[in-house]
């Protein structure tokens, strides 16, 4: 159930909604292995789930996405390069390897997983396994 009438009408609404679910208990701690990069946001859309993460400056070919059971793994390398003979004034962008595995409390249909990367944002569309979907029980 959405807590807000329409959290996405304005951006403060979305920001508020995102804050509310900040490290909510949905993803149990301890189940995820590996690193903490990249930070993820998980959304529900109908029956399915969407994992969104920000990976600016990482080429699609440098990201590896794996799904096994209800665990997803995001691994890769981010490199930051400068030209030759430059003097650096500011260096804030981080580079390095990453490898993160997250176990979701839902069952995924691995055949239906789609990954899309645009403008430095990676979105994983995770369809819920048919047998994991909630069933409506008619009240007689």
């Amino acid at each position: 159930m959405a807590l807000f009438p329409d959290p996405f009408e304005t951006f403060p609404g979305l920001q508020q909604a995102l804050d509310t679910y900040r490290t909510s208990g949905w993803l149990q701690p301890g189940l995820s292995g590996g690193g903490t990069y990249p930070p993820i946001n998980v959304f529900r859309k109908g029956d399915d789930f969407i994992v969104i993460t920000e990976v600016p400056g990482i080429k699609t070919s440098d990201i590896e996405v794996q799904v096994k059971g209800n665990t997803i793994r995001l691994a890769g390398t981010k490199s930051v390069t400068y030209g030759e003979k430059v003097s650096l004034h500011r260096r804030e962008r981080l580079a390095g390897r990453f490898d993160r595995a997250v176990t979701l409390p839902i069952e995924i249909n691995p055949e239906g997983v789609k990954a899309e990367c645009r403008d430095g944002v990676l979105a994983l569309f995770l369809p819920r396994a048919e047998r994991d979907k909630p069933k409506t029980i008619p009240v007689a």
Binding site: T23, D119, G120
Partner: protein
């Protein structure tokens, strides 16, 4: 050359603390930026994930370089958060550029959510090497 050997740590987004208030409530974020300089130009590299090319605004006025990037929140429509680790919002950042910049020749390029601005130095600001006769 930065090496990619170490483990990448989570870089918590920095929120903009502004002197003046915005008309729209909500948080703005400061894009992580690298700035480097060669003899001919200054290059500014900013990370603005989620910002489309058309939503980036770059201006240079009175030696202040200002970059704004808007997020299309409509993309989140119909989505209900269940677990979040980061927030999203428009990006904004301004720098005072000291060298004289050839304003007409500023070029911008966006790739994978990273904006690269090349600010060529104006002729009079270019380093002249004087040979000793």
């Amino acid at each position: 050359m930065a090496t990619a050997a170490q483990e990448l740590a989570v870089h918590e987004k920095k929120e903009l603390v502004s002197k003046e208030e915005k008309t729209v409530p909500g948080r703005y974020y400061i894009p992580y930026t690298d700035i480097h300089e060669t003899d001919e130009a200054i290059t500014v590299v900013m990370e603005m994930p989620g910002v489309e090319k058309k939503d980036i605004n770059v201006s240079l006025e009175n030696d202040v370089l200002r970059v704004d990037g808007q997020i299309d929140f409509a993309k989140y429509e119909g989505m209900e958060p269940v677990y979040t680790e980061y927030n999203v919002g428009p990006y904004t950042r301004a720098f005072t550029v000291s060298n004289k910049i050839d304003q007409d020749k500023i070029s911008a390029q966006v790739e994978d959510g990273v904006l690269t601005l090349t600010l060529p130095k104006a002729k009079e600001a270019l380093l002249r090497r004087i040979s000793i006769g």
